[in-house]
Symmetry: C2
């Protein structure tokens, strides 16, 4: 499948690399490819510059948001939550129309200090904002409740015995995303319901962040024990 991953941070790179490894034709999108390639310093999270990552992944193509979205059958939003709407707008409403958008971002708000809070929250969610802004796109919220390494290699924690959620308005789109999740190794995919249920999965972030601190590792995930 032709997949566009929007975002060149750790999450975008991890998803792009894994999806290319599964045989998909993967392009990774950024606002300004020349600027992305020109950076030589580690990013804000300490990841090496993208210009170092790209040559190590020769099957992944870098281009502008609109270019990768136009050529894709499925789009993954791996941008920062605070800039997701802007990035998707740059990708182009027409380039996203009719396609599945896998939204793995979280609306983290660092303006109140650490740990980040959420915005929107409680009566709205980033997943819903994106669905409202791009009504012709089939938004499926998923994978936002775990570390990037676990998104693509769930066996790294507890032998993969944990859960991932999907939220979206279209059953067929959720079914296709579930197939993709299982191809990445996810064993327990739980359909929470329509896109408003993204509030629930996004609101897992505050306890996730505290667990990261309490456990001293990000190599854990939520399992729904039943």
């Amino acid at each position: 499948m032709k997949i566009a991953v929007l975002g060149t941070g750790t999450v975008g790179r991890t998803m792009a690399g894994a999806l290319a490894g599964l045989g998909h034709e993967v392009a990774i999108g950024t606002r300004d490819p020349q600027a992305t390639l020109a950076r030589t310093e580690p990013d804000a999270m300490g990841a090496p510059p993208f210009s170092q990552w790209l040559p190590e992944h020769p099957h992944v193509h870098l281009a502008a948001f609109a270019d990768v979205a136009a050529g894709a059958e499925l789009v993954v939003n791996a941008t920062e939550g605070a800039s997701s709407i802007a990035a998707l707008t740059a990708a182009g409403t027409e380039n996203l129309a009719g396609k599945i958008l896998v939204d793995i971002a979280n609306p983290l708000d660092f303006s109140h200090g650490m740990p980040p809070t959420l915005n929107p929250v409680n009566t709205d969610s980033l997943g819903e904002q994106i669905q409202r802004t791009f009504p012709e796109t089939k938004v499926v919220k998923t994978l936002n409740t775990m570390n990037a390494s676990l998104m693509v290699d769930p066996g790294r924690a507890a032998g993969g015995d944990h859960s991932v959620f999907v939220s979206g308005n279209e059953a067929a789109a959720k079914s296709e995303v579930t197939t993709l999740l299982k191809s990445l190794g996810h064993q327990d995919v739980i359909d929470l319901g329509d896109i408003t249920t993204a509030r629930g999965s996004e609101m897992l972030l505050p306890v996730w962040l505290r667990l990261w601190g309490a456990l001293g590792t990000a190599n854990f995930n939520f399992k729904i024990a039943r």
Copy 2:
């Protein structure tokens, strides 16, 4: 131990019955004992009237909030979140001072319709509100992330292989509550940190409510797989 459970709903009854069963001296508190006993109809959640429950639990004593709190060594807040501060104020600042308050309530807000939202949320929590209002009390937030039956009998789901969180400012209070949780059968007690981490556990409620719908049962719990 002398324990006061505030709240005569399903959660309060379940906790009171289980703690009495473990040999604790349990009193259950309500605003107006005569009014509580006078009700002959099921409550808003469909539970039988308290006057029917009480004779089946002869070791549990019913009294007003202040009376049960005054006589207790440890207090459990099992009231509805929206009325918890009022109930605790009725219990009396002086009757709560120096004691551990196990806060198992959630600040569910039904004013926006169903499913309920949270108030406070994101930058505050019910646990923190209680701690601020009763600074001499040792508030420990716990057990609010699961169904009442699982609070007292975790083995009912997945053989008890799931997690419970504690949040609070005093290590010794959390240690005492952890001992109590283990006596109820909880195997994996995770200390999230100070009382501000109650935001995280309270914000699990929205996904819990959606999982309840998606799974068709409340007999599940979060496990932190690692």
